[in-house]
């Protein structure tokens, strides 16, 4: 075999296994490989490399931050702050929740089960000055926090808006099993618990709206509530069921 020709054909083996050669080149390669044991082995080895490339998703080559991901970053940063703060509190031994029953549910402004096409996990409006897209600045002292309970898988993003000696609470809750009768509870710094509202977690009947959600967990809910807790005293917001099992608890950072 002509050595130069062999080398030329050999250089086509890579693009051949990558499937990018035109018909004429493919014919040439196959003709050559048919009579060249070394090239047949080379093709087999290169095919393994081609298969290896297949283990990597094409998205792996996208660089930089995601488009429109500011809220995602802010939520993540808040959660990190919240977890760091929670870790500090645990160290101080203040984690125990007072068992006092909630005293009142006030101004339940309508729990709506997030249905339709609305993404249930959408975070509440962002108070951070870093997010310029917010149409109007939220009231001073508004806090947003988010947490996922590793045990139950439930997740909540909550926004606490201060009023005069009480707070409005907006929460997006996902990952609680369908049918659970849940309370949204505001815990103050002295351990007092105030129910800000209650709802029943939607079942699968409505789950169709959550298009393609691979999480596939129970219906999420977007909730508005309120509680007579002094804004400065809010320590955490949690979701529990009627028997007192806590699904997720979100530490609320101190107002800045």
């Amino acid at each position: 075999m002509n050595r130069q020709r062999h080398e030329h054909e050999e250089e086509l083996l890579g693009p051949y296994v990558l499937g990018v050669l035109d018909a004429e080149d493919v014919r040439r390669v196959e003709e050559h490989v048919g009579g060249c044991l070394r090239c047949r082995e080379e093709v087999a080895a290169l095919r393994e490399m081609e298969a290896a490339l297949g283990e990597v998703p094409a998205e792996a080559f996208l660089d930089g931050p995601p488009v429109g991901g500011d809220l995602l970053l802010q939520r993540t940063l808040r959660r990190v702050r919240g977890e760091a703060a929670a870790a500090r509190r645990r160290r101080w031994g203040l984690a125990g929740l007072a068992a006092a029953a909630s005293l009142a549910a006030v101004f339940w402004t309508g729990a709506r089960v997030g249905g339709g096409g609305e993404p249930v996990a959408a975070p509440p409006p962002d108070p951070s000055p870093a997010v310029t897209a917010a149409p109007s600045p939220p009231p001073a002292g508004t806090r947003v926090a988010s947490a996922t309970d590793p045990g139950t898988g439930a997740r909540m993003t909550v926004k606490v808006t201060p009023a005069a000696k009480w707070v409005r609470v907006h929460a997006a809750v996902t990952g609680v099993p369908p049918g659970e009768r849940c309370r949204l509870v505001v815990v103050s710094r002295d351990g007092k618990r105030s129910t800000a509202g209650s709802w029943v977690v939607g079942g699968q009947a409505q789950a169709g709206g959550q298009g393609g959600a691979a999480g596939g967990e129970a219906k999420g809910a977007a909730l508005d509530g309120s509680a007579w807790v002094d804004p400065a005293d809010v320590r955490e917001v949690l979701v529990e069921n009627e028997s007192g099992r806590t699904f997720v608890s979100v530490p609320v950072p101190a107002a800045v």
């Binding site: 296994v17 990558l18 809220l71 760091a84 997740r155 967990e217």
Partner: protein, 201 residues
């Protein structure tokens, strides 16, 4: 390439800087990948947030090369999605209702390592070799389009892609030794930086 070395103590500004740097460097890849697998941007954002949190908790993996770190992150994201699907499938009342196919292959134990391994290996190629594979394989450009994009003749695209694949094989060969003890296809010995695998699994 490699991320900076982060102190193990996680406090305040360091935490945020770490999250930010991972987000700035890998966020686009992660969100695009998660969005494709879940088919839902909101769910994907949740997955990415969870992935970033895990990276923060396992900051020690971030000292590895960029490709390996990205492979780790993509793998973590995929595992989160797979596990959520499993959690759903485990609830009987939902199995009957939603006959959704798993968004990703269910057995991720082996391919997990491979994503990191291959990305780590690609990282060790010359930029020319990496780029030609990126254009032809991942962007699925034709030879002519890749020639245009890379600014080299079509013939060079072809031969370069050949040598790129050979170089990749050489990287596997050097890094992996004989690849003993793992169920790997021949010629694809495992190679992943220390500490990555345990965390993913």
């Amino acid at each position: 390439m490699a991320g900076p070395l982060w102190p193990r103590t996680r406090r305040g500004a360091t935490d945020e800087a770490l999250i930010r740097s991972v987000y700035e460097e890998h966020g686009h890849a992660l969100l695009a990948y998660a969005t494709r697998l879940t088919g839902d941007r909101a769910t994907a954002e949740d997955v990415v947030q969870e992935t970033l949190i895990r990276a923060w908790r396992h900051a020690e993996v971030l000292v590895n090369g960029k490709g390996s770190v990205r492979g780790w992150l993509l793998t973590v994201a995929r595992n989160i999605i797979t596990d959520r699907y499993r959690a759903k499938a485990a609830r009987p009342q939902e199995v009957s209702g939603a006959a959704a196919a798993p968004p990703v292959e269910v057995d991720h134990a082996d391919s997990v390592v491979d994503t990191m391994t291959v990305l780590g290996a690609l990282d060790q190629l010359s930029p020319e070799h990496r780029d030609v594979l990126k254009e032809l394989y991942y962007r699925q450009l034709s030879v002519a389009e890749a020639a245009d994009s890379l600014g080299i003749p079509a013939g060079t695209v072809k031969s370069r892609s050949h040598y790129a694949l050979k170089a990749l094989r050489e990287v596997f060969r050097q890094n992996g030794g004989a690849g003993k003890g793992r169920r790997h296809r021949s010629g694809r010995p495992p190679q992943q930086p220390a500490g990555l695998r345990e965390v993913v699994a």
